[in-house]
């Protein structure tokens, strides 16, 4: 029996979650990035005793405080949505999602709430050393909070360390460390946090450049840029490295996402990485034989190397993943989408039969159905897939989001390199064009972070949990109109918060740090 779920309900539920996550992620990266920069500045004050660095750190702390205050708790709305819009998912994931989020809540409350108070209230009231420790612990607390959220997200991309219990209809964690130390989670954590440092560095460099354009706060601006440019350069290079690690994990665990990121339909050995390219809009299906690109410039063999650390490795394309039949790294042959769908249907039927057998108190039959369920559970989600084409994510969005993000990453490396070089040669002040570039690059840093999430989340569709649960089975049976209503309520609420943040921040920036020039 098929219970029809309105596709517009799925779309609106996804849109609402995406909207909330996008707005939430406007606040988080600045907290993570600016937090480290202000701590570095305070460390310089601690070591030199120069009051200039104290005032510089205090100014950026004020901006940090505004962002923190407006953004705090916006992520909780995502948890509201889990309970209301994604109730099947919430029940199904059980304690696997709950445990990291509970740890995050406790750490966020105790670490951030305690040390942030010392950071803001403690100047001249606690020792310099204790204050500095509190500033660092505030940002460490915020980063550890992010760790647990990202581990929870990584589990959705690569479910590990759990076993499905058909009695409770929940996944139960049997190996906490497999969840906490998942290679996808570790890579995701470092890539996300370090790329957030770029946002902080770009923000500081951009605002400091604005002061130079206005020919005020010169010493403060140049000193801030020196820190931000070096920090941003280090962060950009580390982001490149962690991005490579993330892409490798995607290649190993989510090959369809990688194929969509590269617009790769037909797999090949020694596959090249698309540097720039334009997709062919007339390609409508994985098997329509239309050329996927209008044009592309490839770097030969690089995709194979990135995906498998071997320049001649085979990288499957979208068509191959749907049709199966190629050899996997473990020596087995990849199943086709149709075979996976059949095994998913078998798993779901086994769940139904198991529960019926349990009701009938027929333990022998229940054991037999349980064995079938366990054997096929890895394909459980495929039982909800009607058409193999539904397994292909939005290629255009994934491809362009990935490539624009990578291009922006390269741009940040170059920009921070130039800014750092000119800063340390004391030639930054008279480069007005560079001040404008830094200022207008602030939104680009935010954009790159958002595009990263688009790649991660759009690229894994149709899955809420990779291979186990698609979004169509994860959502609650609600009225679409109620989801639409809350979508627009959030849109209004978050826009008001964002306008408030920008307004208060602009006022504080215009007022300036009032640091003595000499």
């Amino acid at each position: 029996m098929i219970e029809s779920i309105d596709t517009s309900l799925i779309d609106w539920s996804r849109a609402q979650f995406a909207l909330t996550a996008i707005y939430h992620w406007l606040f988080v990266p600045l907290t993570l990035g600016l937090g480290v920069i202000q701590a570095i500045m305070e460390t310089i004050y601690y070591r030199t005793g120069d009051d200039f660095w104290k005032k510089t750190a205090q100014f950026w702390m004020k901006i940090f405080g505004i962002n923190f205050a407006i953004g705090v708790a916006t992520g909780l709305i995502l948890e509201f949505e889990f309970g209301t819009n994604w109730s099947n998912y919430s029940w199904f994931v059980g304690d696997i999602f709950g445990a990291p989020l509970a740890i995050e809540g406790v750490l966020a409350f105790f670490m951030e709430a305690t040390f942030i108070a010392v950071m803001f209230f403690g100047w001249n009231k606690v020792s310099k050393g204790f204050h500095l420790a509190s500033t660092w612990l505030t940002i460490v607390g915020a980063t550890i909070s992010a760790l647990w959220i990202l581990i929870a997200n990584a589990w959705m991309q690569y479910p590990a360390g759990m076993q499905f219990n058909p009695d409770t209809v929940r996944n139960e964690m049997f190996d906490f460390w497999a969840v906490a130390l998942s290679p996808v989670g570790i890579n995701k954590f470092f890539h996300t946090v370090i790329s957030s440092w770029i946002v902080g560095a770009m923000f500081v460099a951009g605002i400091a450049s604005w002061y130079l354009i206005k020919k005020r706060e010169t010493r403060f601006a140049l000193s801030s840029i020196k820190i931000a440019a070096v920090f941003g350069l280090v962060a950009s290079l580390l982001t490149l490295w962690t991005g490579d690690g993330s892409a490798y994990q995607v290649a190993q665990k989510q090959p369809m996402k990688l194929a969509a990121m590269e617009g790769l339909y037909e797999g090949q050995k020694g596959a090249g990485l698309v540097g720039i390219g334009m997709l062919n809009p007339s390609k409508e299906s994985y098997n329509d034989k239309a050329d996927p690109f209008i044009f592309k410039l490839e770097i030969p063999k690089l995709l194979s190397f990135l995906a498998d650390r071997d320049v001649d490795a085979y990288v499957p394309g979208i068509t191959n993943i749907i049709e199966g039949g190629y050899q996997l790294n473990d020596g087995t042959t990849a199943l086709s989408a149709k075979e996976k769908i059949a095994r998913g249907q078998l798993a779901i039927k086994a769940l139904a039969d198991y529960r019926q057998a349990k009701k009938n108190k027929d333990e022998a039959a229940a054991d037999a159905y349980r064995a079938v369920l366990d054997e096929n559970f890895g394909y459980f989600g495929y039982g909800y897939v009607k058409n193999p084409a539904d397994l292909v994510p939005h290629v255009g969005l994934t491809f362009y989001a990935f490539h624009v993000m990578v291009i922006l990453g390269g741009f940040f490396i170059l920009l921070f390199l130039i800014a750092a070089w000119l800063s340390y040669k004391d030639k930054f002040e008279d480069k007005t064009w560079l001040h404008w570039v830094c200022l207008f690059s602030i939104p680009l840093a935010y954009l790159a972070g958002q595009l990263g999430w688009v790649v991660a989340e759009v690229g894994r569709q149709p899955w809420a949990i990779q291979d186990i649960l698609p979004v169509s089975a994860a959502i609650s049976k609600l009225n679409t109109s109620s989801v639409q209503l809350t979508f627009f309520i959030f849109l209004a609420l978050f826009t008001i918060l964002l306008v408030a943040e920008i307004g208060i921040m602009v006022k504080a920036i215009k007022k300036g740090p009032k640091v003595p020039e000499q």
Partner: protein
């Protein structure tokens, strides 16, 4: 002069910190309004837990299992 106990000192630390706030007062007003809207408007009226309509854990797991089974595509 007798030194105050740690809890009293912590209390004074926070009290003085809040009193001395300038921009922070505006930010706290925003935080409190936001939390009020989130917990007393959104959570209460728009985001009740979908499964809270069921009283027991068994009813919840029965409902979710039925949903998961009935939404599947049958061959």
């Amino acid at each position: 002069m007798k030194k105050e106990s740690i809890p009293v000192r912590v209390f004074r630390f926070y009290l003085e910190g809040f009193k001395e706030m300038t921009l922070g007062k505006t930010l706290w007003v925003i935080i409190l309004i936001k939390l009020f809207i989130m917990f007393f408007v959104l959570k209460l009226f728009f985001f009740p837990s979908f499964l809270s309509k069921f009283d027991t854990k068994t009813e919840k797991q029965d409902y979710v299992s039925e949903e998961l089974i009935h939404r599947a595509i049958t061959p």
